[in-house]
């Protein structure tokens, strides 16, 4: 197996804290399905650690969810949509293989036509990839505010085990230079060739999973260990320096295994595991967890976010919270969306997912 290693070395002003998060917002659909419904249908629920998950309604998709999350982020940031210079949209399972979806979002939220937009896709690390690009956009001086929005509602064949854990959700961040609630002190990315254990060929409807556990574990560990240790070296940090560490949440168990291997403790990771309530939200997963952590965190605390995309690669960010985090009141939190829920049965789930 040939392994090609490309390392992106992040450099530039934003590493010294001049770029970061001005505001954020999420959108989680209100429908939920419990693991028990799967057991009734299939006799098993094959997503360890997931108790229930969010389900996009019949008329929802990543674009509609992204628009909602974006409006929440704009509200939090206290800016106007017309201030936005860039919209980067990320989804591992977007409704279109070819059509600018960032344009739909940009227009729907009222952003100007003179704007840079791009769609990021093809893996569950698309969300962090979009965030890194947004940081570059602002740091390089191309604009003052960038909107990064990741939204996913992945689906797979109902008879496949990978389908059990797939959830729905969206999260948006406004990236800027001033009045930051959190700045990025360092980033690192890693890319190595692995056959994606989780993949979809062009034109295919359903997400597929090779289900070769030892191979998936090998790829995951190799990528994560390389990426996170190099980030630590760059910013001169160690696991104990972080209050929270967010990893890719394919289920409720794998992120803990990864974290422990990297030297973190369970209490740094368990509070970040939103997948236990909303399922695997693909490219939005790490960023939704980051948003829920930001709802609860204190100034000067540190958060590590490290995504993983099959095929394979990782983006890692070392984030420091500022005093401004306490200034915000009156915004919809992740908790608000989590509490607003309505359970559906498996039949309704199938209808929403257009399975019957």
């Amino acid at each position: 197996m040939v392994q090609l290693l490309f390392t992106y070395l992040g450099e530039g002003d934003f590493m010294e804290g001049k770029c970061g998060i001005v505001g954020y917002g999420v959108y989680i659909p209100r429908f939920r399905i419990k693991s028990e419904e799967y057991v009734k249908a299939w006799g098993i629920f094959a997503a360890p650690g997931v108790k229930e998950k969010a389900v996009a309604g019949f008329d929802e998709d990543p674009i509609t969810m992204a628009i909602e999350a974006s409006m929440n982020a704009i509200n939090y940031a206290g800016i106007d949509a017309t201030d936005i210079n860039c919209v980067y949209f990320a989804s591992s399972h977007p409704p279109y293989a070819e059509k600018l979806m960032s344009s739909t979002i940009s227009t729907a939220i009222g952003a100007p036509s003179n704007i840079a937009t791009s769609d990021f896709t093809s893996s569950t690390k698309a969300g962090t990839a979009a965030m890194l690009a947004a940081l570059d956009f602002v740091a390089s001086g191309r604009g003052d505010f960038a909107l990064v929005v990741a939204a996913d509602s992945p689906y797979a064949d109902f008879k496949d085990f990978i389908e059990h854990r797939l959830g729905s959700g969206a999260v948006a961040f406004i990236i800027g230079k001033e009045d930051l609630i959190a700045f990025i002190e360092g980033i690192h990315s890693v890319s190595m060739e692995f056959f994606g254990e989780r993949f979809r060929k062009s034109g295919e409807k359903f997400l597929r999973d090779l289900a070769i556990r030892s191979y998936a574990k090998y790829a995951l560990n190799k990528i994560y260990i390389t990426c996170v240790s190099e980030l630590f070296r760059k910013v001169n940090r160690k696991p104990d320096d972080y209050k929270y560490a967010v990893f890719q949440q394919f289920d409720g168990r794998t992120p803990l295994e990864v974290a422990l291997r990297l030297g973190f403790k369970p209490e740094q990771v368990t509070p970040t595991l939103l997948c236990t309530k909303i399922g695997d939200t693909g490219s939005a997963s790490c960023l939704i967890s980051l948003a829920s952590i930001l709802d609860a965190v204190n100034p000067n605390e540190r958060i590590l976010v490290a995504s993983y995309g099959a095929g394979a690669g990782s983006d890692a960010l070392s984030i420091v919270v500022t005093e401004n985090i306490k200034k915000k009141k009156d915004f919809l939190t992740v908790g608000d969306y989590l509490e607003d829920k309505e359970y559906v049965d498996y039949l309704t789930y199938l209808k929403f997912k257009r399975g019957i």
Binding site: M1, L210, A211, I212, R213, S214, Y215, K217, Y218, A219
Partner: protein
């Protein structure tokens, strides 16, 4: 007929290796075996090779032996793939012995390799079931654990064996495996944990079942009268035996015993001129914990039906009357199907040479060792008796 000696053995660690395929594994074991020959051997002296492999995953079903000798740089020599399910390399070893006994060859390689962890779980289930009767067992829904579960239930019914006895086998073998750097699992377990673990096929829990492993093992054999040229510590093949049984469970008169094992053991003891009580250490085929208990009886280590008593009394621990599976057995050491047979040979050779790693696993003063390798649910079985020089 010539006598046969083992002059070198090698084995990879058994386990899950995402970055090693059959080729890498076999080469690794081969190189270790060559380097194990303490006075040195030129690989080109090897005249023939018998290699065990089931072919899980279908990676190289045709001409496997040719691929294997090609990879170790011995293309040109006659090579044969031997397949008898889980007893593949045990039978490969037996063929190598007979090739030397007959006088056709002086130096022969016997080994085995299997790669099992590179296919999805549901495909693996198919491959694990191919060693039963296809028409009447496999296609009727029988799985490999299912077959042994039936044997366990019958043994429990006929002889009062309890689930606790099965768990005791798991505890012993994990304790041994924890001290074996080559074992797949190197962690001990407790009786409670084994008994309360998820059920696979009643009464067998996951702790009663051996794992799915990758691995390879190789032994180099030569004519006994030439052995001292290669090593000061040759281990001699004192006897061997093999047998078959009705393939399907439902055809057997009594499936609390494996006729193939009983026949193989009888032949081996007779050839070696010994009795069961003369065996100092044994590696038996514990694909499931019940298989070890049945093996105690089939190999004559105890009376029929008293296998449970033997494990309960601790007689088969290292330091007991008849240490069984000091390597951790298939349960803890792992079971890469094609490699298990010569893996057992590897362990017994190391024990008889007083070279067991770690030293805490060494059975002291072992002079006569036995290996017991079974194919599937007992369709085939082969026993070897090895003796220190």
């Amino acid at each position: 007929m010539y006598k046969v000696a083992i002059i070198g053995v090698g084995q990879t660690r058994f386990g899950e290796f995402a970055d090693k395929g059959v080729k890498e594994l076999f080469v690794e074991a081969f190189l270790e075996a060559i380097n194990d020959v303490d006075k040195g051997i030129d690989p080109k002296e090897i005249e023939e090779a018998y290699i065990g492999n089931l072919g899980v995953g279908g990676i190289q079903l045709g001409n496997f032996s040719s691929m294997a000798v090609d990879q170790i740089g011995l293309h040109g020599i006659p090579a044969t793939r031997v397949e008898n399910a889980c007893a593949s390399s045990g039978f490969a070893f037996r063929s190598a012995v007979m090739a030397i006994m007959s006088g056709v060859c002086d130096v022969v390689l016997a080994g085995g390799v299997e790669k099992m962890t590179d296919i999805p779980r549901d495909k693996l289930r198919y491959w694990l079931g191919v060693s039963g009767d296809t028409e009447w067992e496999r296609l009727a829904g029988m799985t490999f654990p299912g077959v042994y579960a039936l044997m366990a239930l019958r043994h429990m019914h006929q002889y009062g064996t309890k689930r606790e006895h099965l768990a005791m086998v798991a505890v012993k073998n994990h304790k041994n495996g924890a001290q074996n750097p080559k074992a797949h699992f190197q962690r001990e377990t407790t009786l409670e944990r084994a008994l309360n673990s998820p059920m696979v096929a009643y009464p067998l829990t996951i702790f009663d079942c051996c794992p799915v492993s990758d691995g390879a093992s190789v032994a180099i054999l030569c004519r006994a009268d030439l052995a001292k040229k290669y090593t000061d510590t040759p281990i001699y093949v004192a006897g061997f035996g093999a047998g078959t049984d009705r393939l399907s469970l439902f055809e057997r008169e009594d499936f609390t015993t494996l006729m193939s094992s009983v026949l193989a053991a009888k032949q081996a003891y007779k050839m070696a001129g010994i009795e069961p009580k003369d065996v100092d250490v044994a590696e038996v085929h514990d694909c499931f914990t019940i298989a070890e208990i049945i093996a105690y009886e089939d190999l004559g280590f105890c009376k029929k039906g008293e296998g449970a008593k033997l494990i309960e009394e601790g007689e088969t621990e290292i330091g007991g009357r008849i240490p069984v599976n000091p390597s951790g057995g298939l349960k803890a050491k792992g079971h890469p199907i094609g490699a298990t047979g010569t893996g057992q040979i590897y362990e017994i050779v190391k024990q008889l040479r007083d070279e067991a790693e770690k030293r805490s696993r060494q059975v002291s003063g072992a002079e006569i060792g036995l290996t017991h390798n079974v194919g599937g649910s007992g369709g085939t079985a082969v026993v070897h008796i090895l003796r220190r020089g």
